[in-house]
Amino acid sequence: MDKRLIAGVLVFGSLWGFSEVIIGTGLQNANLPYGAIMTGCFAISFLVLSRMIFRRPGMQLGMGVVAGGLRIFNPFVGCHLCSAIAIMAEAAIFEVIWYKMSSDFSDLKTITLQSSMGVATAYLVYVGGYVTTQILTPIVGGVGFYLENLIIFMPRILASGLLPAILGAAVLPVILQVRKLDFTLKDRLYYPTALGLTLLCWVGVIGFSVILG
């Protein structure tokens, strides 16, 4: 596997996990809709940016594994494994949605198409992650999963996806403008920068968890 790609997975996955833990916690403490903001803004940004730069399907799934690993240190709803798997599920859903998308994003020429893709991606990623958490948490917590509880709560889950969808509609066109900028790092800078950023994210998350815990 391409070394640059592995470094990219590590960096973007770490940045995603870092933002989920640190920024997500801050938003939660400020009583803001952190789940919607994290998915509609941050998750979509990292997933699409990495797809834009590396143009490699499957990479985002790897990012989900890395981000999930970071999430284990600071889980939401008190379930380590559920948090990690929910993020991986979000990454998997993104891969499915963007599977047929052209690597040069020529399918998304107009703002309408870009916003529409933002709506669809953010909504489905958010709702998919939410449902995954609702299924896994009681199973992993040992209290059993009851399908009727999920079915009755589905309208609430479907409603909660509206805000991430609206955020995604705004964020995706902005992210796609980054295509016009030329970010190129030489190899001798790329790998140290990637390593440094990754380490910073992991140390930050683990340190944050130690301080909290």
């Binding site: 009681p138 917590g141 709560f153 309208p155 609430r156 969808a165």
Partner: protein
Amino acid sequence: MGKQKIIPILAMAILLVGIISTLYVYAIQINKDTITVNGQEYTYDTLLLLGGEKTIETVDGEVAGVSLENLVKSIGIDCTSCNKYTIKAADGYQKTIEWDVLKTGVLSKESRVYFPDTPKALWVRDVVEIEVN
């Protein structure tokens, strides 16, 4: 039908689903001051008299509230371990748990249930009903 048509249609469908779901959730939201337990309405103070107060240790610190174990026993459930208990919130959220878990928990004055050894997803907020199944 090409992607240029499918993507906007999908987005519109998603927004429609989101809007309809939001309206539905607000329409079915339950607003009441009492909590239904096994079909009977009780105020929090009455529940406190029936179940007594208990303090438990959770991941968020100590929490005091109505002892769910004593509450269920006091309302006349013969075989507490034979039933499952569904805790329902005002927004439709609900969790079904066994007696072994329920008996460790408390119901706080803010109408939230807490359990010492479970994920927070089971700590149902704005409880409006405890159903005995």
